[in-house]
């Protein structure tokens, strides 16, 4: 391939030989079209008129008062489909179209990437199959229904724990048999080269806009930028706008599940070790023999034992730091934030907000923080209700 897609020692394309021609074709098309005026014109029109870019940078006043410093929210939850995922699916979907592909496949965890792919499949009239772990199908039923309404076929994956990892395995297997007419619309900034680069590219508007908007609204750059990290696409999107501003701290927040002292979490960068999975050398949750560990997190979108290789690099170089918050803190913050700001945040994004709550009293009052509100929480209402039923007392 033209470039080997390495971020320091991380990344690469560790995949069976059968997938190499397809990855090479995608890399070549991406290089050809990423600066192509027609492609950019089409993509920008879609971003603006269809998806709703630019998204606002909102000063969350009551939440800021609660934590004791200024918090701005990058409102990716306002995009069509309800999450940042649409940036990537419009980009890759358009790329697939320019390549002349007629069929899309994708994997999904929480269903947001599946939904965003189904939206693009419908928009472009492409046959779309979504691989989704059976556990996630059960816990993200609303998104499954939406995907079907949009005409996508949802394929439940029974293997393993029935979560995102297993959905990726199955999507890769399907792709090996259908590489000739099918575009694999990968959902996060992970997987084999060129996906980490492509996904970051299509998520970069988040960071670009946030930087500019912060300068306009606050008159200076933020002190810190935080985002949740599962595979890491929303985080790499917003971080990318500030990578060259060393005074801006970058904080990725992983799913601490039941706590890092248990095995029921998905805090890959906080506790994992380096290995090779799903095409990339990166941090993984694995046992001492290299078998991939099961993960658990209240948020289906973070429930993944790997992480995008660029995050592994940012951790290794110290440019970003990675922390985790537990399910219970996330639920506390979900209620707190919803009632203070009138916004139901996705449980994924709530991880970043929960970490900000934890900083209460620790950061100077003149601190400016931006949190990426990567998606909205409508899809998570059943999960929240399951864990914290709205009894008369809590109402």
């Amino acid at each position: 391939m033209k470039s080997k897609g390495r971020f320091g020692p991380f990344g690469g394309y560790y995949v069976p030989e059968v997938l190499i021609p397809a990855l090479e074709e995608i890399e070549a098309a991406f290089e050809q079209f990423r600066e192509d005026p027609n492609f950019l014109k089409d993509l920008n029109a879609l971003y603006t008129d269809y998806a709703g870019r630019p998204t606002p940078l909102y000063h969350a006043r009551r939440f800021s008062e609660e934590v004791g410093f200024t918090v701005y929210l990058k409102r990716e939850d306002l995009l069509h489909g309800g999450a940042h995922k649409i940036n990537n699916t419009l980009g890759q979907g358009l790329l697939a179209r320019y390549m002349g592909k007629t069929k899309l496949i994708a994997e999904t965890g929480a269903g947001q990437h599946g939904l965003a792919t189904a939206i693009v499949g419908a928009l472009f009239g492409m046959e779309t199959k979504i691989f989704m772990g059976a556990t996630d199908v059960a816990r993200q039923n609303v998104n499954v229904h939406k995907m079907k309404l949009l005409g996508a076929e949802v394929i439940p994956v029974e293997g393993g724990t029935g979560t995102l990892k297993d959905a990726i395995n199955e999507a890769l297997r399907y792709w090996t048999a259908h590489v000739e007419d099918t575009f694999y619309l990968f959902g996060t900034a992970g997987g084999p080269h060129p996906y980490p680069t492509i996904v970051r590219h299509f998520q970069e508007p988040i960071g670009r806009e946030a930087r500019q908007q912060c300068l306009e609204k606050a008159g200076r750059l933020p002190d810190l930028v935080t985002a949740c990290v599962g595979g890491g696409s929303n985080a790499i999107g917003i971080f990318s706008g500030f990578l060259n501003d060393p005074q801006v701290q970058l904080v990725g927040v992983e799913g601490g599940g039941k706590g890092l002292h248990t095995t029921q979490h998905c805090a890959t960068l906080c506790t994992g070790t380096v290995g090779v999975l799903h095409g990339a050398r990166t941090y993984l949750l694995q046992d001492e023999n290299g078998q991939i560990r099961d993960t658990e997190c209240i948020s289906a979108g973070l429930d993944y034992p790997g992480v995008g290789p660029e995050h592994a690099y940012l951790k290794e170089t110290g440019r970003a730091r990675y922390v985790s918050v537990c399910d219970e803190e996330v639920l506390d913050t979900f209620f707190l934030f919803s009632r203070m700001e009138g916004i139901l945040p996705a449980l994924e994004s709530t991880h970043a907000l929960a970490w900000l709550v934890r900083q209460k009293g620790l950061l100077p009052p003149d601190t400016i923080a931006i949190a990426n509100l990567s998606g909205r929480g409508d899809k998570d209402i059943d999960i929240v209700e399951h864990h914290r039923p709205l009894t008369a007392r809590s109402l």
């Binding site: 030989e17 190499i20 990892k165 090996t176 999975l277 694995q286 290299g290 991939i292």
Partner: protein
């Protein structure tokens, strides 16, 4: 002459290469089954170390991996298994492994231990020719042969590079897809074997989807130097979960039938290729 060259040159037919997941369904039963395959006339063994996320494999082998993992198989136990097989009968053993298992064990140390156990070659399912040196250099140092995969969509230029990096045999994937039984042999086999034979004199062994003696015969007639049969054999284990004796009988009978179906090498086979 390496063990494969010596094996292929000795045979007047395509080599019979059964595949097993080490430790499926348990260490002891797996050992009996692989020994039975050796007794039934296997010329080379292809053995896999179970992995939690085998993306190049279809459901049959994925389930075998999970059975073996449940039985507690680790890379260290897999090496012990190989030692027991080579002590039973010296036979070339090709290892199929996913890269992360090597990375965690330490690639160099693993390959040295594998060689000491009697192993012959290593094939990393998720390592392409572009990163060949990550395995080829330590394999050479350990005295092992390398096996790389070629698939129907691999262009000629890559086939040449695959042939250059291969010292054992080229594992030729008969179709676009994962491992698994198929009703009919893929029609991609003949053209791919023919292309490889034009480009290289490295031995060409064909796997993926070979499920019947007839398939094996067709592959051999297409000019393959070996036929690799995995999912059909592994299925015999899945089909008789509580009956190791039946597994053994079925595997023995099937391999004997396949071996009998392999035509002698000769001008006809060459013309067909």
């Amino acid at each position: 002459m390496n063990p494969y060259q010596s094996c292929f040159s000795k045979l007047n037919r395509a080599a019979l290469i059964p595949f097993f997941v080490i430790g499926d369904p348990s260490y002891d039963i797996s050992l009996q089954l692989v020994k039975a395959a050796v007794d039934a006339g296997a010329d080379i063994l292809e053995l896999g170390i179970p992995f939690s996320d085998p993306v190049a494999d279809g459901p049959t082998i994925q389930k075998a991996d999970l059975r073996a993992l449940k039985a507690g198989i680790t890379p260290a136990k897999a090496l012990q298994f190989i030692r027991e097989i080579t002590a039973y009968k010296p036979i070339p053993i090709g290892l199929l492994v996913y890269y992360n298992l090597l990375v965690q064990y330490g690639t160099e140390r693993f390959l040295q231990d594998f060689k000491k156990a009697g192993g012959t070659s290593v094939l990393v399912a998720d390592l392409s020719i572009d990163d060949a040196d990550e395995i080829a250099i330590p394999a050479k140092k350990a005295g092992l042969e390398t096996v790389f995969m070629a698939t129907p969509n691999t262009p000629d230029e890559r086939l040449r590079r695959i042939a250059e990096k291969t010292t054992g045999f080229i594992y030729t994937v008969s179709l676009l897809g994962t491992t698994g039984e198929r009703q009919a042999l893929s029609n991609a086999v003949r053209p791919l074997v023919a292309r490889l034979k034009r480009l290289t004199d490295k031995p060409v062994c064909v796997g993926f989807g070979i499920s019947t003696p007839q398939h094996a015969c067709e592959v051999a007639r297409a000019g393959a130097d070996g036929v690799i049969i995995g999912s059909r054999i592994v299925k015999f284990i899945e089909e008789a979960p509580d009956n190791p004796e039946k597994m053994r009988e079925n595997i023995t009978r099937f391999l004997s039938e396949v071996r009998a179906a392999l035509p002698p090498k000769g001008p006809t086979a060459k013309t067909d290729a």
